[in-house]
């Protein structure tokens, strides 16, 4: 596996500022609106025991990070349609190396989104939470983003340019709503909460909340996210090896 390649590839993705700004703008606006609506009075959420503004910030940072990771799918669809993956197949880059390069690039972008949204929230709303709480929340969200980076690669590998967009929308909105990233789950029907237990976006959010709390049982989220990661990674490597052949 080539460190040099992974570094250059991540740097290349980071420099793609245009998509970056859009990834960032939507959760930022939502944070400012919802944060102002729920959080100004310093009210505390009964379910998580965290101030509402912290819950909202974690939600929006998670949402932004998920969007940053998932939007990799478009880059990959474009790259594939240009024949870039065929080009890569005639280098020593392995399926695993390809996967790691894409996941690291996605993680680098989402890290910036997470940190930026938390910093803006702290500066705007003067939230009372220890630094360690924010740091753990960011770390939890960041780890929770890994399955989304993989989902993005998988969409990128399977989707044709013509239906990548709708496929992305279905996955993205589905994950955002069912995982409780837009609206807290407690105001939705109970079946949504039950389904939420198996989607990675729910655990992405929970990991962020647990981090902010600096407590909680992380075994379940880790197992669910690990399960997603392993299955998705296996699919991606299998697909990369076949992808180079012309059909």
């Amino acid at each position: 596996m080539s460190i040099a390649y992974i570094t250059l590839e991540s740097w290349r993705q980071l420099k793609n500022l245009r998509t970056f700004i859009f990834t960032f703008a939507v959760p930022l606006v939502m944070l400012l609106i919802f944060g102002g609506a729920y959080g100004s009075a310093g009210a505390v959420d009964q379910v998580t025991g965290l101030p509402w503004i912290v819950v909202t910030t974690v939600q929006m940072a998670g949402y932004g990070a998920m969007m940053a990771a998932l939007s990799q799918a478009f880059n990959i669809v474009t790259e594939r349609s240009l024949g870039w993956n065929r080009q890569l197949r005639i280098t020593p880059l392995t399926g695993a190396g390809y996967l790691v390069s894409k996941v690291i690039a996605a993680l680098a972008t989402s890290a910036i989104v997470i940190v930026a949204l938390i910093v803006i929230s702290v500066l705007t709303f003067h939230v009372q939470l220890p630094f360690a709480g924010w740091a753990m929340a960011a770390l939890g969200l960041w780890a929770g983003v890994i399955p989304f980076a993989l989902i993005a690669v998988l969409i990128g590998q399977f989707a044709k340019p013509s239906y990548a967009q709708p496929l992305f929308m279905v996955v993205f909105f589905g994950m955002a709503i069912i995982g409780g990233l837009w609206v807290p789950l407690q105001i939705m029907p109970s079946w949504v909460s039950n389904v939420a237990q198996i989607v990675p976006s729910y655990w992405l959010n929970r990991l962020g909340q647990m981090g902010a709390h600096q407590s909680g049982d992380i075994l379940e989220p880790v197992l669910v996210l690990l399960g997603w990661t392993v299955v998705l990674a296996a699919f991606i490597i299998w697909r990369y090896r076949r992808d180079a052949a012309r059909s």
Binding site: Y5, L8, R86, Q87, I90, T91
Partner: protein, 308 residues
């Protein structure tokens, strides 16, 4: 000299559903050869290249590079490849593209050297999206040579190039082959195969229909072409008469112009002129690659017709 063949394809077959793209190819390429894979679109050139590189799995047969699995040769950076299609990312510059691919290799050339070999130094800072067809191919050539390969495989390298760009391209290719490396390129430009390859392998409908030096391949079709303009009515009788001239293989008429292909052109021309004294604009030409190609691919098509 190394006795292990650089490329060895044995009994290679590839079918996509009911379509047979490659139909039993045996081919051995030795170190230092410059081989042209010549054939029309759909002859199986690209699929053969994919199979040789291990990018596609053969339905039957084997492909070996440097005596081993193609993937191993690629991992060692011994194979440089220019595949068909865009293949570079439009938002990157030429130098960045070369650097990114170089980073994936274990022992790449310095980026500047690869750029120079491909005559890309001047366009190094240009974005891929701004390149002309010829510049694009040069950039892809730079990417192909950055691993410092012993074998270069190129699929239609001069497609979308103008005459000047083609000349520049083949010049840098010459520098590459002068160092004793092996080159295999697919093309449907007959003159290109004739000029730059020292061996031509002709493909038609997934099979090799000819394999030899350009002269050998051209000699497959002997005879010359006589072309002349005849005034007046053209009847069935005229055609039958021309066909009975010495060594005549075919007669074709377009408007005033008649084209006769004959294995005994001198005798045929004498007889022709004694019959059509008013014939004018007479032209006698040797067969070129195009004719060789048409004759060979037609022969293979006829053979197929018999089998079917």
């Amino acid at each position: 000299m190394n006795q292990t063949p650089v490329i060895q394809l044995s009994g290679l077959r590839k079918t996509f559903g009911r379509l047979t793209a490659v139909d039993g190819i045996d081919l051995t390429v030795r170190a230092g050869e410059v081989v042209a894979l010549l054939g029309p679109n759909g002859a199986g050139k690209s699929t053969t290249i994919d199979l040789a590189l291990g990018l596609a799995h053969p339905t039957a047969g084997t492909a070996r590079l440097f005596g081993g699995d193609p993937r191993l040769a690629i991992q060692d950076g011994r194979v440089g490849v220019m595949l068909q299609g865009g293949a570079l990312l439009p938002t990157m510059t030429v130098a960045q593209s070369v650097a990114l691919i170089a980073a994936a290799h274990k022992h790449p050339l310095p980026v500047a050297e690869a750029l120079e070999r491909a005559k890309c130094t001047e366009i190094a800072k240009q974005r891929v999206s701004k390149l002309s067809g010829g510049q694009m191919q040069r950039a892809r050539f730079a990417v192909a040579v950055v691993s410092n390969p012993d074998l270069l495989i190129m699929d239609e390298p001069t497609a979308a190039m103008d005459v000047e760009a083609r000349r520049t391209f083949w010049q840098s290719m010459r520098e590459f082959t002068d160092e004793g490396r092996t080159v295999v390129f697919a093309t449907h430009y007959l003159d290109e195969a004739d000029t730059y390859a020292d061996r031509i392998v002709m493909l038609s409908a997934g099979s090799i229909v000819a394999d030899g030096t350009p002269n050998e391949v051209k000699a497959v079709v002997s005879g010359r072409r006589i072309r002349a303009n005849i005034d007046g009515e053209w009847t069935e009788g005229d055609e039958a008469e021309l066909l009975s001239l010495p060594g005549v293989r075919s007669v074709e008429r377009r408007g005033e112009q008649v084209t006769i292909v004959s294995d005994e052109p001198d005798a045929a021309l004498r007889a022709f002129l004694s019959r059509y004294a008013d014939a004018h604009d007479i032209e006698v030409t040797a067969h070129n690659m195009d004719d060789a190609f048409l004759a060979l691919t037609e022969a293979s098509r006829e053979k197929e017709g018999v089998l079917a």
